[in-house]
Symmetry: C2
DNA sequence: CTCGATTTTTGAACGCATTCAACTTTCTCT
DNA sequence: AGAGAAAGTTGAATGCGTTCAAAAATCGAG
């Protein structure tokens, strides 16, 4: 498997040259020519390995998702309550992406689910689903009782909640992104509070309607 | 004021040539050269009147917001209950933008609030605030009692809710966007239900936390 | 070892949004 | 009416992402 290795090595060289440039000069002003140059290959080579400039960011994100997995495991293992678990998952992610925070902005622009690089696209399904699994587990192993009809949709809701937080974080210009951290602090409590509340009889009709709504939204999207 | 008029006329000619092309061939594949050509001016002229290709779409949106205002007035006038009012506002907007639905996708990509064309930018503040006013009025004149602490934030929440729906609608590939219409149908009821519910004593602590949270988010953003 | 097939690499196009310096028209003030 | 300023117009040039045809390197089978 020497070919595979060598090819892989080139790919990685391009990828890290790109990330380094993105970090140093920003996504927009880094050019593909420079990226290729930095990796010691011709411009076209970058396109042999990556479909587009954006796709390089996605590759970075995929790699990150892999590296994150064990860290997320630890986060779940180290926290007991549902609130602590969700908080831990979020903290790990934000901390991990901190050095490349702005870079994620290059991905967040793709709101069209048909676009390959959208967080909702078929191409990114695997990352997305693996990520949701962690929320699923955070819910499962916690002592909070989830009504059965909610169990199917709640991981997805939490994942969307997370995406919203990350989006806010990417463009948070406050010092050290303290607004995002305040937002996380406050919102996790509310979210968990609502989850607990969702079992109350008074809210049952609302809950039912929310569930069918979410099924409408997710259905065959 | 002949200059003003003539200049305005050229601007409008470029704008309508652009919209017509966008509708016929899609935003991406319509080129600035063609737009200018269609309006009978040189390429550079388009840039004299508009900062960018995207900015043309924003100009269209601004124009639309003006045209929409009386229609929204009528919508409010014709509906009594809060639910009917919100529903009416949404229906008017979706119906109005129907012919150019896909075009709005060109705006939705700008998630960075610092970008001039973002729905959250300083440049679009006026449109945004005028739009929120309608939700404010839908709330004011309705018989639903809103607790005072919510009054400041609720119009904004409803506006965000609307933006979410529109985003979903833009990329809704179901026939006649029936999924979006189902989503509107179901969600308006839930949203109004939650608003009504928000007055219940049981939910008071959650409500308070939500309000302070939203103040954190909006604060000086 | 050799020769065709496959993978990888190259750098020069290509198409497009955007910029710009020069040119022309229109306005303004006396 | 005329001169200087401002507004409007031009189309070629720039820079960038991306494509592509052709060259080079590598591989796999006989």
């Amino acid at each position: 498997m020497k070919t595979k290795t060598k090819s892989e090595e080139t790919r990685e060289r391009i990828l890290s040259a790109a990330i380094e440039l993105f970090r140093r000069r920003g996504f927009e002003s880094a050019t593909m020519r420079e990226i290729a140059g930095g990796a010691g290959v011709a411009t076209g080579a970058a396109y042999y390995y990556f479909d587009s400039k954006d796709a390089i960011v996605l590759a970075f994100y995929e790699h990150a998702a892999c590296e994150l997995e064990p860290l997320l495991e630890d986060a779940l293992a180290g926290a007991k309550s549902l609130e602590a678990r969700i908080r831990a998952l979020l903290e790990v992610k934000l901390k991990y992406f901190e050095p490349n925070r702005a870079l994620l902005g290059a991905l967040s622009g793709h709101t069209d689910p048909a676009h390959p690089l959208s967080p909702f696209s078929a191409q990114t399904r695997e990352i997305r689903e693996r990520d949701m699994k962690f929320f699923e587990r955070a819910l499962e192993d916690s002592r909070v009782r989830i009504s059965p009809d909610l169990q199917g949709v709640l991981p997805r809701i939490l994942w969307m909640y997370q995406m919203g937080l990350i989006l806010f974080w990417i463009y948070d210009r406050s010092a050290s992104q303290k607004r995002t951290h305040a937002l996380v602090d406050q919102s996790v409590g509310i979210v968990v509070g609502l989850i607990k509340l969702s079992g109350f009889p008074l809210l049952r009709p609302v809950r039912r309607r929310v569930v069918t709504l979410l099924e409408t939204v997710s259905g065959e999207a």
